[in-house]
Subunit: 159 residues, 2 copies
């Protein structure tokens, strides 16, 4: 994988750098009405994501971002603030993802990643597996999205 | 919720229209290199999603779509081919999502939804809950993405 990562900045984070219980601050991003509507028009064109009146008439109680939009913001913050320069080998999937609150225009979402567990692969000694929980919280500290998934991370080369 | 849905076409699908074991064809979409790279640049700017050389050097073995891009294509097909005109009330989240194969430029993905189980809410008699599995398969019939989630759907009004 090193050739792949060498196209990025020098690798600064390896499997061994993720300790169970550690909480990583992955930054924040403010949602805008224009971005919420544009994302929904492309990927999730349900009325409650496209205009205020339909949002108010829906369970969401007002115009709210597609849950996939919130998840994509999570991915971008994760890529920019942790994966870049890491020995990441990707992820096989998501174990659980919950949308707990509507995300509104001008909401600022903060992302943290909590390391739940780490283990190395028996079959592939260079591969480490990290079980992590991601939490996106609004300015009031309420959780809007929580997700657990497994990350694959290369182990630090031994000199 | 009806006001919200009335901004769409007339409601033609209610909770009662989803039977356990039923498989719904939700259409297909061909991925393009330009869309794969543009989506990754916006939401998942990891090298293996942005250029061929980095893709070939990665576990993906070539330029491949972000898994979030494939998930967004699933959502768009679901919105266009099932949710529009339905009594959908959204979803609380994803129970499991697995990315099983890389998705390449020019791959055509077909989406099906299989109804696993249905139940009505004890607390909210107008609300039905549908457990469903979504499978995206490539032209060769191999599964690229599989996801299970719970859908909330309003029950058909009684005359």
């Amino acid at each position: 994988m090193s050739e792949g990562r060498d196209t990025m900045a020098e690798t600064t984070r390896w499997f061994e750098d993720f300790a169970p219980g550690a909480v990583h601050d992955l930054g924040r991003r403010t949602m805008t009405r224009d971005e919420i509507v544009a994302f929904a028009a492309d990927w999730d064109p349900q009325p409650m994501h496209l205009d205020e009146a339909s949002g108010e008439a829906s369970l969401l109680g007002g115009l709210a971002a597609s849950g996939w939009h919130t998840a994509c913001v999570l991915m971008r913050l994760f890529a920019d603030n942790l994966l870049a320069g890491s020995a990441s080998l990707g992820s096989p999937g998501i174990d659980s993802l919950k949308w707990l609150r509507p995300v509104r225009p001008d909401d600022t979402l903060a992302l943290t990643m909590t390391v739940l567990d780490t283990r190395t692969s028996a079959k592939r000694p260079r591969l480490g597996l990290i079980s992590a929980r991601f939490d996106m919280t609004d300015a009031g500290g309420a959780t809007a999205l929580t997700m657990t998934c497994t990350l694959m991370m290369e182990r630090r080369p031994t000199p």
